[in-house]
């Protein structure tokens, strides 16, 4: 295929042209600093309010509960660090899962250095958190449970409502990293008992470099970035007006197309899964078979390694990933795949394909054909495969 086939929408999405359109006036025309007194700046203030309202509505929350950040990562850092600092006198114990994004895990490591204790809960072979273990981990000094909404590598959706209930029962705060889920799954923070929620625009057709943290009214966490009185004094720094507007627009579009997108993605996903599992031996689908993001598949192809697979697919104009984008510079196999129990050599051979509404059946079929070829080629090169064949 001449055209690039982009199957890495969990890493980042194309910014929708309508979103770019919506942002454009805020660079060189309506460019005032929203904190300023004059009329010219109040247009910006209004634009921010509108975006905030769109997002608040999407969550079933109030606009005064939505705080813009520069990324999903910042929102995660904020939720953890500020909660730790605000509730330190109550206790220094936080519970999370073993399959969180590094934005959570590395912030937890940072907090551990500052004297906090973190319990990392196991997941089952499908990547679903062990609720009994979670509840047992709660101590008098526990202040926060942070469990992601949907996993970025294997797509598994967590039992958020149940976790919310556990948190409520034990009077704990519950934060969820919904970076992969927001705009893709229905989320109502009231119904699900979520106290804090992180999201990021670039996973749903918005620009890279804008996120938000939902903070339920009454939660007394302070700011993470200190300075001016922006975001009601809770998140300092001149507002990124264009991106806030773009985020609002992207959410609006994501919600209005949610059902049809999910339907299309699901069809393509099922087709992809069926063909790959049927046509390529020694392959497993990672993550829950059905309870997963509609646009996510993650395979392990035994005997081969992920990076070479990716490069060979790239040569065929297919953009895919292995593990998460943020760790692709690293040599370690995915902590998520290890957590669901894969042995190292299988964890190394994983391929994540994440679809968008723009993908076609033709692209998927072409992709499966190419995966077959490439997996075959790499297995022929693999000493592990050689050993396996010999032993049979």
């Amino acid at each position: 295929m001449e055209k690039k086939i982009y199957l890495d929408n969990a890493a980042t999405t194309k910014t929708r042209p309508e979103v770019v359109e919506a942002m454009l006036p805020y660079f060189s025309e309506v460019y005032g600093n929203p904190s300023s007194v004059y009329e010219f700046a109040s247009q910006n203030k209004k634009a921010i309010d509108e975006a905030r309202t769109i997002i608040a509505d999407a969550l079933g929350s109030h606009s005064s509960e939505v705080y813009f950040t520069a990324s999903g990562t910042e929102a995660d850092n904020w939720a953890l660090v500020a909660t730790a600092e605000a509730y330190e006198s109550k206790g220094k114990h936080i519970i999370t899962s073993k399959i969180e994004h590094h934005a959570i895990l590395h912030t937890c490591e940072y907090l551990e250095k500052r004297g906090f204790e973190i319990t990392y809960i196991d997941v089952d072979e499908n990547g679903i958190i062990k609720l009994d273990q979670l509840e047992k981990a709660i101590r008098p000094s526990t202040i926060l449970i942070s469990v992601m909404f949907a996993n970025n590598e294997i797509g598994t959706i967590q039992p958020i409502r149940e976790i919310g209930e556990i948190a409520k029962r034990h009077k704990l705060l519950f934060h969820t990293d919904a970076v992969q889920a927001f705009g893709h799954e229905d989320i109502n923070v009231e119904e699900l008992g979520i106290d804090m929620l992180s999201a990021s625009a670039h996973k749903l057709g918005g620009p890279k470099g804008i996120g938000f943290l939902y903070i339920r009214k009454g939660i007394k966490i302070r700011s993470f970035v200190h300075g001016g009185a922006q975001e009601r004094g809770r998140r300092a720094g001149t507002e990124n007006v264009p991106y806030i507007v773009g985020f609002g627009k992207a959410v609006q579009m994501a919600l209005s197309t949610l059902d049809e997108r999910r339907k299309k993605e699901l069809e393509l996903r099922e087709h992809l899964v069926k063909r790959v599992l049927a046509e390529i031996p020694f392959t497993r689908l990672n993550g829950h078979r059905t309870n997963r993001l509609t646009n996510n598949v993650n395979f392990s192809f035994q005997f081969i390694e992920g990076e070479s697979l990716l490069i060979m697919l790239d040569m065929q104009n297919i953009c895919a990933s292995s593990g998460s984008a943020c760790t692709s510079g690293s040599l370690d196999p995915s902590h998520v795949l290890l957590a669901i129990g894969l042995p190292h050599e299988i964890a190394h051979g994983s391929l994540r394909l994440t679809l968008s509404h723009e993908n076609t059946l033709e692209e998927i079929n072409y992709t499966v054909d190419k995966i077959k070829e490439v997996v075959d080629k790499l297995r022929k090169m693999s000493p592990l495969y050689e050993d396996f064949v010999r032993k049979r």
């Binding site: 005997f303 390694e305 992920g306 990076e307 490069i311 510079g329 693999s382 000493p383 592990l384 495969y385």
Partner: protein, 147 residues
């Protein structure tokens, strides 16, 4: 992130495959770290490497270093092959990204392991060759990476 040479060796690996009755075969690395290299050597009575094949489980750099390493030792004497360092491998590829340099060490070690096997099978001692370790990875990280 890779040079043209790396990409060339990766897409068209030289000497990929197995040898039927190799004079020596060596496997290094481990699946935990994501790279395993196996080298087959066919060495004639004059100690000249007549043929060499590799199989590699690993990243693009691992495959490319294996491939280029086979080229570097083919036709050489055992003693010359021993002098093919990981540096030579990196140079032959016009460089590797810092995190991938360990792959070239693996290639060096794979040759050594195959030579060791050859020496053992033939009850000879090769000057300067030490018993290869099972895992030659160094797990140093970029200093700045400390989260």
């Amino acid at each position: 992130m890779y040079t043209k040479k790396v990409m060339d060796h990766f897409s068209n690996p030289r000497n990929m495959g197995e040898l039927e009755n190799p004079s020596g075969v060596g496997t290094v690395g481990n699946a935990k770290c994501g790279d395993i290299m196996r080298m087959y050597l066919d060495i004639d009575d004059d100690g000249i490497i007549q043929d060499v094949k590799f199989k590699t489980f690993g990243c693009g750099a691992a495959i490319a270093t294996s491939s280029v390493a086979t080229e570097l030792v083919k036709g050489k004497t055992v003693q010359e092959a021993l002098e093919v360092t990981n540096k030579a491998v990196v140079e032959a590829l016009d460089g590797l990204p810092p995190v991938k340099v360990h792959c070239s060490l693996l290639a060096e070690q794979a040759i050594h392991a195959a030579l060791w096997d050859y020496a053992e099978k033939n009850g000879i001692k090769i000057e300067g060759l030490k018993k290869p370790k099972n895992d030659v990875h160094d797990h140093e990280e970029d200093v700045a990476e400390s989260y």
